[in-house]
Assembly symmetry: C2
């Protein structure tokens, strides 16, 4: 359906326009082909190099391919760099990858092919089939260009590539997609370990994000987003295995259910609409609609002018809600064990990626206990007081206090993950169920990774009378939440749930320092592009 997007498609095409469109397209295609042919035939060379008009034993073995516009179907015989091994010695392979670096030394040319987080060295030397011109051509290809290399696998010892026991001796090198000569950032600079000396070139965060397409190509970025995708997959698989069903919740909501200062407003036909700050209402309605255990993954919007390392205006929420029988701990402990299973799954499936990220951004391995540690809120406060912090019994945790508590817990219990239960009622939303034995507290919990909150959850009030009273107490205009309250009028099981910030989990699991590193295209008050 994306293709029918009328905006990108531009305006309607008239009958006359058709003919014109066709001609223009043919012209553009021909131009691209000619350019390619010119370069391949030696009339033009990429960048500043010129071929000499002498006999060339490598004629036809190098050059720039025609733009791939699907002229013919051919079997795909290309191999991936990661599959190369000494067992393939002597075999001829065809590889499509990026030219990562290239270095010519007279009659030889070394170059590195990079495919995602794998790399292999190629050695091209003047010989019966390899001309000086060919070496000159290859040495002149712009870095980051995509090339097709045909060559023989030869045993070797290479330290600078991920493939360390073989190299490739090319017979053919064809350019598939040419990069511009000047790159806004160097991939090598972008993937340099943070532990390297201070005087080496580094890439600033904004430069990375402004040129995200290049920054995403580093092995570190490749691994970060593989970890993030795995967190989503594990969240879904673990919950599905426990009987949860995925639902889709709308992001466009009416003024009636939410509203206020931290919400993005838009004009919706003749009226106003808002962007959902959470799927809270909808996952609860799914429970009232008998789905029993649901999860939903989707964007969450916060019009908050927070320019911190951990706030985004749009992030991905992993939300869940579950009907329980007797006690909300049935839900809280399920979520806790879901996290433990997720951490185990990451260790099991993503160890190589975790290691790759750690090479650039060193971090302590993530520690956790099984079953997870559960602290009472008041125990957390006591730990902080022991450490000299002045804090009230029912005061919310500031970011520095959260961080400190994480350190204290790690020192005492040797875990980077813990649950804090029984938050003060007064600092939780109106729909939070009070503790039945002492309404100073509530049936609510947060979960923490490396001292930062990554989940907030609670038992929700499922009785419309009690919910109305609590909303009134909070000074909320009942008209704006009537639909929400009405959802509970026709019988609703007791239920609890929570919402997880995907990017925070990824950032904190990997021990990274900024949420923008784990959001592919981050959005904050100052950034709306690319």
């Amino acid at each position: 359906m994306a293709d029918k997007n009328p905006e990108i498609a531009g305006n309607e095409v008239s009958k006359k326009g058709l003919k014109k469109a066709q001609k223009a397209a043919e012209k553009a295609a021909k131009k691209a082909q000619h350019k390619a042919a010119d370069i391949a035939s030696g009339k033009v060379v990429p960048d500043q190099l010129n071929n000499e008009p002498i006999e060339d034993v490598s004629q036809g073995r190098y050059g720039v391919n025609e733009l791939i516009c699907s002229r013919e179907r051919k079997p795909v015989t290309h191999v991936s760099i990661s599959t190369l091994s000494p067992a393939m010695e002597g075999q001829t392979v065809l590889i499509r990858a990026r030219l990562h670096t290239v270095r010519a030394t007279g009659k030889q040319c070394f170059f590195t092919l990079r495919g995602r987080d794998h790399s292999v060295q190629c050695l091209l030397a003047v010989g019966p089939n390899t001309s000086k011109q060919m070496i000159k051509f290859v040495a002149g290809i712009n870095k980051e260009s995509i090339i097709d290399v045909t060559g023989q696998v030869v045993k070797a010892s290479v330290v600078s590539c991920t493939v360390q026991d073989v190299e490739v001796h090319p017979s053919h090198v064809m350019v598939v997609s040419l990069a511009e000569p000047r790159l806004p950032l160097q991939i090598d600079d972008a993937m340099r370990p943070e532990t390297d000396a201070d005087d080496v070139a580094r890439v600033l965060q904004d430069t990375r994000l402004d040129n995200r397409v290049l920054d995403l190509r580093t092995a570190t970025s490749q691994s970060i987003f593989r970890v993030e995708a795995a967190i989503c997959r594990l969240f879904r698989d673990i919950l599905s295995g426990r009987g949860f069903m995925e639902i889709m919740c709308p992001k466009l909501i009416s003024a009636a259910s939410e509203g206020g200062a931290n919400v993005f407003a838009l004009s919706y036909f003749e009226r106003k609409a808002f962007l959902a700050q959470s799927p809270q209402l909808y996952k609860q309605m799914a429970i009232a609609g008998d789905f029993e255990k649901v999860f939903t993954i989707g964007p969450v919007f916060r019009a908050e002018n927070s320019n911190t390392h951990r706030h985004l205006t749009e992030f991905v929420g992993l939300d869940m809600e579950m009907a329980f029988i007797h006690h909300y701990h049935e839900v809280m402990m399920l979520i806790g064990s879901m996290f433990i299973e997720m951490f185990r799954g990451l260790e099991r499936d993503l160890s190589r990626d975790i290691e790759i990220v750690g090479k650039q951004f060193p971090a302590q391995p993530f520690r956790f206990l099984e079953p997870p540690l559960v602290l009472q809120f008041r125990e957390g406060i006591a730990l902080l007081r022991e450490a000299g912090i002045e804090i009230e019994d029912d005061e919310d945790l500031s970011t520095p206090n959260e961080k400190l508590l994480g350190q204290l817990v790690r020192a005492k219990y040797n875990t980077d993950f813990f649950i804090m239960d029984k938050f003060p009622l007064a600092i939780r939303p109106f729909y939070t169920m009070p503790d039945p034995s002492n309404a100073k507290w509530s049936n609510s919990y947060d979960m923490f990774m490396r001292g930062e909150e990554i989940l907030s959850g609670a038992q929700r009030i499922h009785d419309p009378t009690m919910l109305t009273e609590r909303a009134k107490h909070h000074g909320i205009d009942l008209d704006t939440i009537q639909g929400y309250i009405d959802s509970f009028r026709y019988g609703c099981p007791p239920h609890a749930g929570g919402g997880i910030g995907l990017e925070r989990v990824t950032m904190l699991y990997l021990g990274l320092d900024n949420i923008r590193k784990v959001s592919m295209f981050p959005r904050d008050p100052k950034r709306l592009t690319p």
Copy 2:
């Protein structure tokens, strides 16, 4: 994180407010408890019934439980209705479910318990432990209330329930969550087969959607959304199995990359932002960023004032993009076989749900061929002309023509799913790769289910020069798409992809007539609630 939503949470609570909050919460909890105790003790009965002040052998065996606010943790011993079987004869079971119907006949009371799409009959008869009062109480419980029933499993023959070989003879009936006496719609009416006589009560679509919490409780709704969740799961699992990685694409975009009439605009701090009409740019950037094969699932927004059976202003896009080697058919055929595998998966895993939906909304079973049928666009046009339709060679298909083509293809090839390849270039977006041998056509395709488009896709232009020329030709302001074009300046593999509308696939697979049936909380120009 949902719980920290400051909007729902209301305004800040002062220190003084804490004490007040605590008192109010205690009061509300006590009130709920007293009400429950009053009903349980016979002082008050739900609805209009009154207990008589006589000895009651069932004292303590019926009543209304205290509101479940997690007072104590107890083992969960409840069983699900679906597990009941004759093998359990004589066993005592505890079930929590909704009171679906109840009918008292003097000394007996029959009632049906419903849990999602399962139901079982209960029979309560006056006896040594069952008083008339208890029967009166149960007969007076409002339909849709959630109740805990303890009872013995007894062999029986029941046609009106999904459990047909046993019934339950209750010893205890306790109300867990009381529904209001008057329901805005009756569940039985909402799940009546469309084939029933015309004079029975039906529920109008708007009534259903206005009271979605009730409408979702029908077996049909439960099954529809299980099918929809399965489509998402199959999409992800099949693509992951073929090396695709999940990515997250932003929904808030700057004016720079898209803009125009069919886009929702919002104010973003000091400037304007827009809601993404597709993840097109972002999935292509992921390809330019070397992720090779990506998919993304998320909301897609269209500010289109279309009030049809198949348009929503917010729907869920299943999008994919993939680098290929020689020819875009590598991608097109992968998508085609993904659909075939998805259809097989639905038949294999969801047959019971498909049958349940078919009982209420009868439809022909969905037919498909393996491998899928691929028609050229011009072959489709030829079929329409044979059927007497006047249509140009390169005219886009109108909705009626699409529908008719679906019927013609079904009659000729016996399939409800087919691919149409090689659309006219002029009716596709500017970034579509022209056919290299004839630029009247393009390397683009749509896929259809029961004669409606469910996917649109193409090879994209990955060369910035050609892309610029095509954009100019379409009269697009280059400034607004500069970031998009720049993504291709540093080498980009040839790639193709497509976008699927989740709700359309669900609707058409099940043969339903309106997309609002398969969107849990649909959004159209007239509906923004609940």
